[in-house]
């Protein structure tokens, strides 16, 4: 934690990165490739991560709606088989947000990798 703080990771970023930031980062990464709808995103996260990330549908949709509210995503509604479907697309602001999250995540990841078995033994 001291190392992470020394890397300039602020208090709010810690919470964001370790808990809330992960689904947001994954959603933004997926939407950076293509326009997608909710079910498609949930299924993609599940399949790409081989089931490692299985965020509940109760959690993903409020995050998507918040990102729309923050103008990180734009929305397009379409009627499919008689029901409304929302397609999400990354905006310029969302792209910026994705870069920020990726940058912060790579710092965390680099910090965690310093705690590998070998480095801990070497320090000891």
């Amino acid at each position: 934690l001291t190392y992470l703080l020394a890397q300039g990771i602020k208090a709010e970023m810690k919470k964001e990165l370790f808990i809330d930031g992960v689904p947001e980062l994954l959603l933004l990464r997926l939407l950076a490739q293509n326009e997608m709808y909710g079910y498609e995103l949930v299924a993609k996260i599940h399949s790409i991560s081989d089931g490692a990330f299985s965020f509940g549908e109760g959690c993903i949709y409020p995050i998507l709606h918040r990102l729309v509210g923050d103008r990180c995503l734009s929305i397009r509604k379409e009627t499919v088989s008689g029901r409304p479907r929302r397609y999400y697309r990354l905006t310029a602001k969302g792209n910026k947000r994705l870069s920020q999250l990726e940058n912060s995540w790579s710092k965390v990841s680099a910090g965690i990798s310093k705690f590998g078995k070998d480095s801990i033994h070497a320090t000891a």
Partner: protein
């Protein structure tokens, strides 16, 4: 469990959590699309429609727990939701202080212009200034009704605050008619309301507005007939 039961239970749970309006509609649309897409996938894989619905509902989880996690996630999205006690308590006090500030501002405007005002108009303005903290409270209440950051509990807390606290505040103004330094102006707080009729009226209007809003959002008829998501 079938689609109708799933959506209706989810809708009821959303209302219970105070997730209403466009937020509830957006979530229901997403869950409905999720459910249907899952069913289509299972049917395409050779499963019959009846059991596909049951499996899809099972995979999505109990509607109540789905709504629980959505409510938690939505609460995490706002500062108020993350700090419910601090935001409902402290911010209400801030609103109360803002009410006093607005009242004082009104008082100063009265000092500046009292010479041009008749006694009747001045009395009306004093009454209006007396009402300003309550109006500020109503704005705070309207914000809560619009955003519902703390659900129904938060809304009823703010209602009680707006209905009671501003009623205990009073504003007085005596113009300096006998020369400089003879008038007085200020506000006071009393444990026993200084104008019982005013207090009761504000209380009835405030609780009436919230009660109507609550009834409108939770009325049973809407749950029976208003399900536009079912096919």
């Amino acid at each position: 469990m079938q689609q109708r039961e799933f959506i209706t239970r989810a809708q009821k749970a959303l209302i219970k959590h105070g997730i209403i309006g466009s937020r509830a509609k957006a979530l229901l649309e997403e869950w409905n699309d999720h459910l249907q897409s899952e069913v289509e996938k299972l049917v395409a894989g050779g499963q019959d429609r009846e059991s596909s619905y049951q499996d899809a509902c099972k995979a999505l989880g109990e509607p109540e727990s789905l709504v629980d996690s959505a409510a938690k996630q939505l609460a995490m999205e706002s500062w108020q939701g993350r700090n419910p006690v601090l935001s409902s308590g402290i911010l209400s006090v801030v609103v109360f202080l803002l009410g006093i500030l607005v009242m004082t501002g009104g008082g100063f405007l009265l000092i500046a212009g009292w010479k041009n005002l008749s006694a009747e108009i001045m009395q009306s303005l004093i009454n209006f200034i007396n009402t300003l903290p309550w109006i500020v409270g109503l704005c705070w209440l309207a914000y809560h009704a619009r955003k519902m950051p703390l659900g129904w509990k938060g809304l009823w807390f703010v209602t009680a605050f707006t209905a009671i606290v501003p009623g205990f505040m009073g504003f007085f103004f005596e113009p300096p008619t006998n020369g400089p330094g003879t008038g007085s102006m200020g506000f006071f707080l009393t444990w026993i309301s200084y104008k019982p009729f005013d207090f009761i009226l504000k209380f009835i209007i405030t609780s009436g507005l919230t009660s109507f809003f609550w009834w409108y959002q939770t009325r049973g008829q809407k749950l029976k007939d208003g399900n536009q998501f079912l096919q």
